[in-house]
Symmetry: C2
Subunit: 222 residues, 2 copies
Amino acid sequence: MEICDYLPFWSKLTQEQQQTLERGVALYHASKGEIVHNGSEDCIGPLIVVKGQLRVYSYSDDGREVTLYRLFERDVCILSAYCMLNSLQFDISVQAEKDCVLYRIPAPVYKKLMQESAPVANYTTELIASSFSDVMWLLDQILYKHLDSRLAAFLVNESELNDSLQLKITHEEIAHHLGSAREVVTRMLKYFQNEHMVEIARGCITITDLKKLTQVAQDSLR
Amino acid sequence: MEICDYLPFWSKLTQEQQQTLERGVALYHASKGEIVHNGSEDCIGPLIVVKGQLRVYSYSDDGREVTLYRLFERDVCILSAYCMLNSLQFDISVQAEKDCVLYRIPAPVYKKLMQESAPVANYTTELIASSFSDVMWLLDQILYKHLDSRLAAFLVNESELNDSLQLKITHEEIAHHLGSAREVVTRMLKYFQNEHMVEIARGCITITDLKKLTQVAQDSLR
């Protein structure tokens, strides 16, 4: 697939704009685990996921992390281009969760297009609104939902993403994803094990009752 | 002040676009406490605060509320026009915190402008990015900061907004603002009282040591 296939506004660009974009864009390979964008240190511009999976997360001064949302193939990461927008006043980082192939559009190239073209500007608005919606969902989870249902929802989602009931993930990593502490996650996992929903082994969690876990994800234990 | 003075993109519109906007816009008076936008029930379009103060908040099924951010004179409320953007997938409400005079731009009028004009689209992106930044700040507070500093920050901020050390607000209302429970807020307020930072009376909190409270707001008690 070419760059034009990923951008719905392509046909609304002038030929000159198309050429500028084609000349500016670069393929970028990121290894699993690599930090492709790190807070306010760099403004690399929008990233298109050609292959792989990205994790967008926030972090605190003392090293805690929370996954805000994930991006999959054909998704576009706009927060890595935060310097294009004056009003984006927060730092996030982006990590490759799998080996990734990415298209990278330099921030100045994209910014110029945005200023010239209403379709590009409106597309950008939708991207920001979509990220915003993901974060609002998370805020909702944190404010109004209990950790039990959040943890259950996380495990069910991981299982779907990996197409497996065996999840190779540590309690520490789960705690990072949920913005919680390892101890809290471990306690809740043990509770789930006692309820025969999962089996815990070193570095691996096996879902033994997906139906029940899905119920907890939807309704909470309490 | 005219509508053109509130919109930085005004001079970049065609004469026809300016006329459409002027014909569509309406002055709207909202009384203190009035809900001017209520979740997905209505899509009233962007609101410009001419006079007064708006509160944008999220809410749960069981009646809990959290203030996401506030809008002051000359600010523009864009989330009341969520139907203009396909990717805005969450419900918030907007309440007048003081008697308000608002300009209201009908959603279809604004949406048409956005589609035609890159300056309008880019202005909208900045508005969304600004709201997004406010919510990210809140998420940060909730995830990484303790309630003591959040409560202290809230009281200091209220005092500045009202230009008074006497705050006429109930513990219940504070809990709504902070997404916490009344009991938790009451306990923390009593702690503050014991530390001689505030004095609590029925329906009124008096800040007695603004300097110390400001310190707690910045550094947390722990």
